[in-house]
Subunit: 82 residues, 2 copies
């Protein structure tokens, strides 16, 4: 199964990288850009019998390695192979 994991900083957690990008965008003339936040998108394939199992394993991976659950949220999307 193809799995996509979107990892973002929790609301309220400062995002200095996002702030730096926002400042750069402004100075390039993109004054309409606001609230820039930068997260990660991890894609991987997981061998599993069904989507529920892949989802469960991906959550385990997030909890044990991929995310820092103190400051980050994650969303898992599973696409079943044809």
């Amino acid at each position: 199964m193809q799995v996509t994991i979107n990892i973002s900083l929790k609301e309220g957690v400062l995002d200095p990288e996002g702030r730096a990008v926002e400042t750069s965008l402004q100075s390039l003339g993109f004054h309409e850009a606001r609230d820039v936040r930068i997260g990660k998108q991890i894609t991987l394939s997981i061998e599993a019998e069904d989507a529920a199992r892949a989802q469960q394993r991906a959550a385990r991976m997030c909890e044990s390695l991929l995310t820092n659950t103190v400051i980050e949220d994650y969303i898992i999307e599973v696409v079943e192979d044809e």
Copy 2:
């Protein structure tokens, strides 16, 4: 408008960070994980009259600052405010 930009390495471009994560997952017992690729997800709000204009401005931002178009692809999603 709320805009999400997903940036990923082009196919064929080596992803050492993804490789490192894959090795770590394997050594933690996640032997079903394969083809780990790590990209960025940028969220921002763009003031614009309509979604088409927000999309166009976001593409400009990608081309001039946010992505390295030699090695990266990007996908822009615009969500219209209610």
